[in-house]
């Protein structure tokens, strides 16, 4: 056998694994940077709020797509379920307390995700994409047909969200909205970080790397997949509820195919399977849309298309994957 030089101190396997999972300086700087809009771009807090919500949604998709390898084109159904749950709670039942609305939105989406997961784990590849797509379209039409509950194409009217903790009123400039969404994003990020760094996260990586080997090491991997799909649906639901609460409107757009597709584009731009990629992708996508739509509102998707092709061709692991390769080379 040829002799290899070890990387790191291999006689301390536990500390090696702990070290892999610790915070990097880039992570800390990144989260500090998310506070910049408060001081430097106060006019863009509304956009920052949209970015935080999209990032949370992309984070939920990264769990299933990036870590467990489930390609989905219908995740907007869970985003929409969360959005409508929070909206209906306020518009139809007069309950506008944000934290409980957020949790209920997440729970409803997770419950539906759990049921759907039994179908999801039965299929692979193209059939899997079609099933996720079908479920997404089905939910959209269902919401459209149930206009007595959802408001149909007119959207859901009369939502009002109460003050957070009874203290922080949602203001016109979006200070509260962005603070709220950013806090929820950060907490969910911490949860996702714990999940992907756990033994469960390791199993998911095993599924992604070689699903056929999993039974041969005694793994009931379908249960892992159902579990992560349920968690992901719950987080997507929370993201949807956030959108409802910070904008006080829900339209059918929250369930649209466009939203399911956009979130996958964000993930590919940022890089899958690394959590931060989801957030970076959302930032780039929404800022590009905002700026490009200002130049020409009709054709902005052309530029996203060009950017997407550039990234896929030259940075197959996404922008974050490309960056981390550059940094490693410099070291």
């Amino acid at each position: 056998m040829s002799i290899f030089h070890a990387t790191g101190d291999t006689s301390q396997p536990v500390s090696w694994i702990r070290q892999r999972n610790r915070w990097s300086i880039f992570g800390i700087l990144f989260w500090l940077a998310t506070l910049l809009p408060f001081y430097f771009f106060p006019a863009y807090l509304g956009l920052a709020n949209q970015v935080a919500i999209a990032a949370l949604f992309a984070l939920s998709v990264d769990l299933v797509l990036g870590y467990a390898g489930i390609v989905t084109l219908g995740h907007a159904m869970f985003f929409g379920l969360g959005a409508y749950t929070a909206g209906i709670l306020s518009a139809r039942y007069g309950w506008g307390e944000p934290i409980s609305g957020l949790l209920l939105g997440g729970l409803v989406a997770a419950a539906v995700g759990y049921v759907a997961s039994f179908l999801i784990v039965r299929v692979q590849h193209l059939a899997l994409i079609m099933v996720t797509l079908g479920l997404g379209l089905l939910t959209y039409e269902l919401a459209n047909a149930m206009s007595w509950l959802t408001g149909g194409t007119d959207g859901l009217m009369g939502i009002s969200t109460w003050q957070i903790f009874g203290t922080f009123r949602f203001d016109l400039w979006g200070y509260t909205a962005y603070s709220y969404s950013l806090a929820v994003l950060f907490l969910c990020f911490l949860a996702c970080r714990l999940i992907v760094n756990s033994s469960f996260g390791l199993s998911l990586r095993g599924v992604r790397e070689n699903v056929k080997r999993m039974p041969a090491i005694g793994s009931d991997y379908k249960w892992h997949l159902r579990k992560v799909y349920t968690i992901s649906a719950g987080i997507a639901g929370i993201a949807g509820a956030l959108l409802t609460q910070t904008t006080n409107t829900v339209t059918l757009e929250v369930l649209s195919f466009q939203r399911s597709a956009d979130v996958v584009v964000m993930l590919i731009l940022g890089g899958t399977g690394r959590l931060y990629g989801a957030i970076i992708g959302a930032i780039i996508f929404l800022i590009a849309r905002d700026q490009l739509a200002g130049i020409n509102p009709q054709y902005w998707f052309l530029w996203i298309g060009i950017l997407l092709m550039f990234v896929v061709l030259f940075m197959p692991k996404g922008i974050l994957g490309g960056l981390s390769r550059l940094i490693r080379r410099e070291e």
Binding site: N197, S198, G218
Partner: protein, 247 residues
């Protein structure tokens, strides 16, 4: 007997790939499964471990019927295999991959609320397995960067992490240069004594030096089961291997 098969039969279309195969593996067995290409050796292992379902016959693990349960359940009961072609987790390090297998065995793999580093025992055990197989130095490199022979050892490490009572090794030294394959079989020879091992191997020198008993499979059926010396002298085996005659 730890493992017994009762008249296992399997057809692919009209082709018999397993004909009434009945074998018994006692505790501590070091049995070799040999036979010409296409004799159905790998198919037989697939049947035992559940990748394939037999048309008829039974598989008994420590007396209990496992014919109808899935591969993962058989592994959890102690019936594990390795693969002829590396079937690994390329982007995981051996330490992670073996820890994954240990966590699956211990029922820890569903815990998403605890950091992996808190499963100290699983990680230490995984590291001990890798050290025993001489992989400690490369335990923290991505598996895809390992030398081929080392990857063959990771195959065995993954299987050992499931704490098998019966270990089926499908050509553990496939594709490995001859001097290294002897090293691989020294690993096989040093496996825990109580474990029952059945291995497929083409190199007769290795078969006769490591196997206490040899099962010869030809065209999906058992031609002969005997000690190595007897198999060496058997005219039918010679005929099959040397191709004298058209049997």
């Amino acid at each position: 007997m730890v493992l017994r098969t009762d008249s296992i039969c399997k057809k692919f279309g009209s082709l018999d790939v397993a004909r009434n195969i009945s074998i018994e593996l006692p505790r501590g067995a070091r049995y070799a499964l040999i036979g010409p290409n296409g004799a159905g050796k790998t198919t037989f292992i697939n049947l035992i471990t559940g990748q394939l379902k037999p048309d008829s016959g039974r598989i008994l693990l420590e007396g209990s019927d496992v014919t109808r349960i899935g591969t993962a359940d058989r592994v959890r009961k102690g019936l594990t295999r390795t693969f002829q072609i590396n079937t690994l987790f390329p982007d995981l390090t051996p330490l992670e991959a073996v820890t994954l297998a240990v966590c699956e065995r211990e029922g820890l793999s569903g815990q998403f609320w605890r950091s992996l580093a808190t499963h100290r025992d699983a990680i230490e055990e995984s590291h001990a397995i890798l050290t025993r197989l001489g992989l400690a130095d490369v335990a923290t490199r991505p598996t895809r960067n390992l030398a081929y022979g080392q990857q063959r050892l990771v195959e065995i490490a993954l299987a050992l992490a499931t704490k098998p009572k019966v270990l089926l090794l499908d050509e553990p030294a496939a594709g490995v240069p001859k001097d290294e394959s002897a090293m691989l079989f020294r690993v096989v020879a040093s496996l825990p004594e109580e474990m029952a091992v059945l291995f497929i191997e083409h190199d007769m020198e290795i078969v006769f030096s490591f196997a206490s008993r040899v099962i010869v499979l030809v065209a999906g059926g058992v031609l002969l089961e005997a000690g190595p010396d007897e198999v060496k002298e058997d005219p039918r085996v010679r005929e099959v291997y040397l191709g004298s005659g058209h049997g």
